[in-house]
């Protein structure tokens, strides 16, 4: 019964909350608009925005020097999670099954496991850094901690269900993933989408002034 609820109504609900919430927040950001700039632009703002979106993928030298661990761990986690989410075979099968999209090539199993390990090591290191470093510890509120725990448990239950033979373990993973979907639009997890907005804003503003941001 619980399984049916998780697989059916709760899935629909969580996906709806996720989709509506994310679109709502993105539209409301766009609707805010940007303050008018009457000055004659020196360069194209669009190019500057795009340049900044890409260039910020590299950590600044000072950050790289002082907190190499967080840069490396952050990359391990984010790249790993992206690969797991979209190129793990069980996930592809799930998307094909639920959304009717055509299948795409997934990772071989050994790469899938390796990716999971890299993502896990990255998540735990970044998380420990957040808790251990006095500055990030003070910057983190209940929202960040909730997001960390949720993501960790979604990944952990996913790894526990790797044999793909027990419905109870699959449902546990699925349930936590649904909780994460519901929590997503109300939290800083929105940085998945909003990072591009903020980088683009800075980049475009500076670009129009002829500054390489």
């Amino acid at each position: 019964m619980f399984t049916d609820f998780i697989d059916g109504p709760f899935w629909t609900f969580s996906v709806s909350v996720f989709a509506i919430g994310v679109i709502w927040r993105l539209i409301s950001i766009i609707r805010l608009g940007v303050p008018g700039d009457l000055a004659v632009p020196r360069e194209d703002g669009g190019a500057g925005g795009m340049r900044t979106i890409l260039s910020r993928f590299m950590a600044r030298p000072a950050v790289r020097k002082r907190a190499l661990l967080i840069v490396v761990a952050g990359y391990m986690f984010h790249v790993g999670l992206f690969a797991l989410l979209f190129f793990a075979q069980p996930h592809i099968d799930f998307y094909v099954d639920r959304f009717g999209v055509p299948a795409w090539a997934g990772m071989p199993r050994w790469l899938f496991i390796l990716t999971a390990e890299i993502a896990f090591a990255g998540l735990i290191m970044a998380w420990l850094y957040r808790v251990m470093h006095p500055v990030t510890r003070m910057l983190s509120g209940i929202g960040e901690h909730t997001a960390s725990w949720l993501v960790f448990f979604v990944m952990l239950t996913g790894c526990l269900a790797l044999l793909e033979q027990y419905d109870s373990l699959r449902v546990l993973h699925f349930f936590l993933a649904e909780l994460l979907l519901i929590y997503f639009p109300f939290s800083s997890l929105m940085h998945t989408f909003t990072f591009a907005f903020s980088r683009n804003y800075t980049g475009a503003t500076m670009g129009r002034r002829g500054v390489d941001a």
Binding site: R66, A67, L69, A121, L128, Y129, H133, Y166
Partner: protein, 377 residues
């Protein structure tokens, strides 16, 4: 010697060897070479056997006095798998009988599980018993603190500690769960639980190895032995003395723990990878050895860690070192006097900020803190 007598002798030996083999006795190798058979043969003519041997020897083959089955059993007993062939391509398909698997089973069921479990329970009991002994604080709190571990070291420690605890828990479920959890929970629950433990254990194993490597390089320089440590060892760590002995950054006990953790960690990692990639291993015996090494070093490491956790929790001020990274100056003076003097000379003793969260912005300039705390990364 009479042909028939020799023939009979060999057959007796083979039968004894087979019986011993099937009884799972590890001594079959010696007994098959034993020349003194217990039963003296009686010469009974056996035309059937003679005829059969004659048939075997036909066709120019080397005449043999050996019974044809003797040769087969000799091959089987000596595990000459290379001589065997099979259409099947699965692992160990050409092996007809494997006695080492049964020895492994006996070791596991009769030694590893009972004695390993007893050892774990014993260490828990010792720790619980010791926790009732009231310990007076060995220092009085001051308002001065010293930074003991930088953030990367804290992350390194807790990454290893976290993965190790997870692995210990899931590993113990797999080793002892059948005898402890299964009767309580029933098959359906325990099966899913054990499967989750197995998959989680397999996935987190390499993370532990990764953490171990990082941890080793972070802490190895502070764990080199010093002449001071031999004094510490000779006086039993000052257990029966009033004042703590002189010690540097780590005392001899802590250094021993470090090297034992590294030793068992390497044993666990090597045997663990052998188990993970057993499809690449040449034989089954290596695999059996790997599981035994893995289990024994895991149990010993868990016992060590139980002691380590007890020491950390029961000694006042110690947890601060690994949670915040800062220790009370008096703690350092009492337990690590040599290190304290070094820190004092270098001017690394600073004032404790009473309520860090209230006025953090004012008291700790961000740039200063991050430079100091993450500089070594």
């Amino acid at each position: 010697m009479n042909v028939a007598v020799r023939h009979g002798l060999i057959q007796i030996l083979v039968v004894i060897a087979c019986l011993l083999l099937f009884a799972g006795s590890p001594v079959h190798a010696q007994s098959s070479q034993d020349d003194k058979a217990p039963v003296s043969p009686i010469d009974v003519p056996n035309p059937g056997a003679e005829l059969w041997n004659a048939v075997r020897e036909r066709g120019g083959a080397e005449p043999t006095q050996q019974h044809p089955l003797t040769a087969i059993w000799e091959d089987v007993l000596q595990q000459q798998d290379t001589a065997a062939k099979s259409q099947a391509r699965s692992a160990d398909a050409t092996s007809m009988i494997n006695a080492s698997g049964d020895q492994w089973r006996q070791l596991r069921r009769e030694q590893l599980i009972p004695y390993g479990g007893a050892l774990l329970l014993l260490s828990l009991a010792i720790v619980i018993g010791l926790s009732f002994v009231k310990r007076t604080a060995h220092y009085s709190e001051s308002d001065m603190i010293i930074r003991r571990f930088k953030v990367p070291s804290l992350v390194g420690h807790w990454l290893m500690a976290g993965s190790m605890l997870f692995l210990a828990f899931t590993g113990l479920v797999l080793l002892f769960g059948r005898f402890t959890l299964l009767p309580l929970t029933g098959s359906d629950f325990f099966s899913a639980f054990a499967s989750a433990s197995k998959e989680g254990h397999d996935l987190f194993g390499p993370i532990f190895t990764f953490a171990l490597i990082i941890f080793f390089f972070q802490f190895v320089s502070k764990n080199m032995l010093h002449y001071r440590d031999f004094v510490w060892m000779a006086r039993l760590g000052g257990l029966f003395e009033k004042k703590p002995l002189k010690a540097g950054f780590f005392n001899f006990g802590e250094k021993t723990l470090f090297w034992l953790v590294i030793f068992f960690g390497i044993a666990l990692s090597v045997s663990g990878f052998a188990i993970l990639f057993q499809n690449l291993l040449p034989g089954r015996d290596l695999m059996l050895l790997a599981t035994l090494v893995h289990a024994v070093s895991a149990i010993l490491l868990i016992c060590l860690v139980i002691g380590h956790i007890f020491m950390a929790l029961s000694t006042k001020g110690t947890m601060d070192a690994i949670t915040t990274g800062d220790v009370d100056a008096n703690w350092a003076k009492a337990d690590h006097s040599v290190w304290y003097e070094q820190m004092k000379e270098a001017g690394h003793i600073r004032k404790r900020i009473a309520h860090a969260s209230d006025d953090a912005g004012k008291e700790i300039p961000v740039a200063e803190v991050s430079a100091e705390q993450t500089g070594a990364s």
